[in-house]
């Protein structure tokens, strides 16, 4: 069984005002098949954690490590991390003009597998995955994310999750911008991916709604660049009722 371990991770970004520390020592361990929810106030560093694990060049790791079955992820290039089995469903998926979705998906699959997928079964698989996410077939002819609505972009992220079959997925606010029906459809996609591939999931969210579909084994409260508290699903309910005041007060005292 695979394990993704984040150990004392410190991350900075360059800003106009100089270097700013955003992650201030994150510790988190996710085993394959587990669902971990991360909840925390705006600006606390949740997306920074997600991007840092995926290797976005904007974020500088100052210290700490991210180990995938003992191998140092931080030493891998972005594409190597993906090929090692880490997937990031982005909060704001990027538009890529002129690159057709069908070509993109096949290129990604080929890169991950080291060989091109057999054409007919692949097209069938793509069509079926699109159908179960209620995505129209015409999307595969469109350019990647170009002109997609917010919700359509999120569905496209989960489509990739199902087709690319990673071992660990970080879902950064995949539920934001989804209508009630779409939330259910997308959640079912995530559950399918988990069940088929024994996926480990790090689910970043602001709402308990999605947690009714994707039931977390662990909930982590993320405040000011680190995990402030950990608990089971009941912690999410408590946060929904009480908000983050309790933790923010702690942070300002510290």
């Amino acid at each position: 069984m695979s394990v993704l371990e984040i150990k004392d991770l410190h991350v900075t970004v360059e800003t106009d005002q100089g270097t700013k520390e955003i992650l201030k020592g994150v510790d988190l361990t996710i085993a394959q098949g587990e669902i971990h929810a991360i909840m925390g106030p705006n600006g606390s560093g949740k997306s920074t954690l997600a991007y840092s694990i995926a290797g976005h060049p904007k974020y500088h790791v100052e210290s700490g490590s991210v180990l995938l079955d003992g191998a140092e992820v931080l030493e891998m290039s972005v594409d190597e991390r993906a090929r090692a089995g880490i997937f990031l469903a982005m909060q704001y998926p990027v538009e890529i003009p002129g690159v057709r979705m069908a070509d993109f998906l096949r290129t990604a699959k080929t890169a991950l597998d080291g060989e091109a997928p057999a054409l007919r079964p692949w097209i069938k698989e793509v069509n079926e995955a699109m159908k179960s996410l209620r995505m129209d077939k015409t999307f595969s002819e469109r350019n990647v994310n170009e002109g997609f609505s917010g919700g359509e972009k999120k569905r496209h992220e989960i489509l990739q999750l199902e087709l690319l079959k990673p071992r660990f997925a970080i879902l950064d606010e995949t539920d934001s911008g989804l209508d009630v029906d779409a939330l259910k459809i997308v959640s079912e996609g995530v559950i399918r991916a988990k069940e088929t591939n024994d996926l480990g999931i790090l689910l970043i969210t602001h709402y308990t709604r999605i947690l009714r579909y994707i039931k977390p084994d662990f909930v982590h409260v993320f405040v000011d660049g680190r995990v402030a508290e950990e608990g089971g699903p009941e912690l999410a309910e408590r946060l929904e009722n009480e908000g983050y005041d309790r933790f923010l007060a702690d942070a300002s005292v510290a």
């Binding site: 995926a54 290797g55 976005h56 060049p57 904007k58 290039s77 972005v78 594409d79 991390r81 993906a82 090929r83 997937f87 990031l88 982005m90 998926p93 990027v94 890529i96 003009p97 002129g98 690159v99 070509d103 993109f104 290129t107 990604a108 890169a111 991950l112 350019n143 990647v144 990739q160 690319l164």
Partner: protein
């Protein structure tokens, strides 16, 4: 795109942009106020000598095209290949033919030299109302300086795509006249895939009539110096002009396009979109986009943009949009210009899906330029250009 260098002189409103840099001692000199008041003549000697410091020439490597500007030019007919297309004809016509000069008159000395020198004009005339594709190829212009004159006429209500593919060696100064009569729909694609040492100065003069629709696409991939300046007049009410361009400049190549779009009549629509890639030391591209919305052009809807993707160190992309508006009553007018390196976010997104950096770059560049290729509408040429762009890209990697 992450902007590296953006040159965007803000020139909204009814103000002249001083682009009339003729030598003030020269014969025929008139201080030019607006783009349509430029000096024009068919005679080479009426223009002042080109010194390379004039506004119009200062970005051009004048020495490399001197034989075209001032030299003796062979103006005789040349060999070409063309497909059979019903409702379209191709003939050599006399230089005294009434069609010569209908679309425009030279605005610079190189263009006038070509005009003075051509013996016969190649007339392409389309009458078909069912869409026809006419593909004319010329690849044997030789390495002596020569002049050419082409007249493309889309008769009223005709519908066609005229593709001119140029390759091989050439030192060519030429004028291309394009007349789109009322109600006609015409796509003109000018593809420059010259050999490495070739040079070309071209002026395209275009008149778009009432409710006519012109799509003009310039694709430049090969040559040492290629300077192609389209001047498009939306002269009939309701005329539409889409002016697109794609260029890929390698080390040492100079590709220049000075695009002039004149909204003359009321309710005209103009779209200008040029996209370029630069790769290799000394790759230099110039895009100047002059849009003039004349006093009678009420209801104008106009937008122009140029985007350049810089793929290596040592390149230079000049991008200069100008907008002059002489009437208050327009629907909209705008411009955008950006020159930048790869968009990190796009590369990250692709790499985060396991795609290697090299492959991600390839996808992004091809995608960037595909927007223009997709406008051509001729599958054979489109797939040829995709392959040619791939070849340009891999050429730079060696």
């Amino acid at each position: 795109m992450s902007p590296v260098a953006t040159q965007t002189p803000e020139q909204h409103g009814a103000q002249a942009h001083s682009d009339g840099g003729w030598d003030s001692n020269a014969p025929g000199y008139v201080p030019v106020q607006t783009r349509d008041a430029r000096f024009t003549s068919v005679n080479h000697d009426d223009f002042p000598e080109v010194r390379g410091i004039e506004n119009d020439w200062k970005l051009t490597p004048v020495a490399r095209v001197r034989p075209l500007i001032d030299g003796q030019l062979d103006g005789s007919p040349y060999a070409y290949l063309v497909n059979e297309a019903t409702g379209a004809s191709v003939d050599w016509i006399d230089r005294t033919d009434a069609r010569v000069g209908l679309a425009g008159i030279p605005e610079d000395r190189g263009s006038a030299n070509a005009w003075t020198s051509f013996e016969r004009a190649l007339a392409i005339t389309v009458t078909s109302e069912d869409h026809v594709d006419l593909v004319l190829s010329r690849s044997q212009l030789g390495d002596e300086p020569r002049a050419a004159h082409t007249i493309i006429t889309a008769k009223a209500n005709s519908n066609s795509t005229v593709i001119i593919r140029s390759s091989g060696d050439a030192q060519l100064a030429e004028n291309v006249e394009i007349v789109v009569e009322s109600g006609a729909t015409l796509t003109v694609v000018s593809v420059q895939e010259w050999s490495d040492p070739s040079t070309q100065l071209a002026s395209h003069f275009v008149q778009v009539g009432k409710d006519a629709h012109l799509r003009h696409i310039v694709v430049t991939l090969g040559g040492s110096v290629v300077r192609l300046n389209p001047s498009v007049h939306l002269s009939g009410e309701g005329a539409q002009g889409e002016l697109f361009g794609l260029y890929f400049a390698d080390a040492g190549q100079h590709f220049e396009q000075r695009v002039y779009l004149h909204h003359e009549a009321a309710n005209t629509i103009g779209r200008v979109n040029y996209k370029g890639a630069l790769q290799g030391v000394g790759a230099h591209t110039v895009w100047v986009g002059d849009v003039l919305i004349g006093p009678k052009a009420s209801g104008t809807d106009s937008y122009e943009q140029n985007r350049n993707l810089v793929l290596s160190e040592g390149t230079r992309a000049d991008s200069i949009p100008n907008l002059e508006i002489e009437t208050g009553d327009i629907l909209g007018a705008g411009h955008a210009s950006a020159t930048g390196r790869f968009d990190d976010e796009q590369l990250f997104y692709l790499q985060a899906r396991g795609i290697t950096e090299a492959e991600a770059r390839r996808l992004v560049v091809i995608g960037f330029l595909a927007e223009i290729v997709q406008k051509i509408g001729n599958p054979e040429l489109e797939s040829h250009l995709h392959a040619a762009i791939e070849a340009e890209l891999s050429g730079g990697a060696q």
